[in-house]
Symmetry: C2
Amino acid sequence: MFSKACEYGIRALTIIAKEGEKGQKVGIKDVCKLADTPESFTAKILQDLVRKGILNSQKGPSGGFYITKDLSEVALYDIVVAIDGPEVFRKCGLGLAECNAAKPCALHTKFEVVRNELNAMCQTSTLETLVEQLVLDIHN
Amino acid sequence: MFSKACEYGIRALTIIAKEGEKGQKVGIKDVCKLADTPESFTAKILQDLVRKGILNSQKGPSGGFYITKDLSEVALYDIVVAIDGPEVFRKCGLGLAECNAAKPCALHTKFEVVRNELNAMCQTSTLETLVEQLVLDIHN
DNA sequence: CAAATATAAGACAAATTTGTCTTTAATTAA
DNA sequence: TTAATTAAAGACAAATTTGTCTTATATTTG
């Protein structure tokens, strides 16, 4: 569904968001330990997200990654688009370049349902809801 | 969502199923022309599906690919599993090895909805329904 | 300022996916 | 039986994704 890079990115951002609620910046090592993601690869993904304005970072001692935006305003949709691009939300299920209501592929109608659910999931999930779920998980 | 190999395989099978209804075997060249897929790559995918019993083939003049099963009994689910494996129907949305109701990832509940829709689409689609849609497309 | 710490950047490498090409084997039809 | 035709098999190659490593740059703290 999502690329590895995207999975890692989401997991890392969720960790950073959660730790950030305690008012802390998180170093790449801690992020990756908590998110269970490969360090150098994750660093590259996060650097890209910093360039794209989803995330902030600070070099030097007591530096690390942090988020200045309101967590409720960072939609999962934005994260996925930043890492994997918008194709997953648009692509034809059978990979046809042209596939729409006027010229549908054999799977068009049914696939649209799936894609709409994916879209809904990504639009209604935010770093805030993801962190909430994380906390819930620990409490259970 | 699906790999390229899987997209090509589904499209090729749909073509073979459709032509098969006319009682014809279809050569790899015709399949790929009609499905708009790369020839050698598609051939390899179809050969694999033959080995897995989804499809039949015959060598020699007037040979080609054909389907002996009832089209209504070849579910899209079976095709996807044959080509991409069952992971897409099981995998955690965030790529965690362990993710279930007892130990859910931050996206678990919402992702389950998407995965269930994907599953439903693949269980309720068969080569018969896919061919129907193809025919409909041409009529519109 | 100096030393330590942490991200940034980019070269490099491994693995996987996607795709091609050549040779072989089987089948048919003349 | 022979020639033509078609899939089968597998080596090979390109592209993409995933991942690592080294060096540079920025920042903080003493």
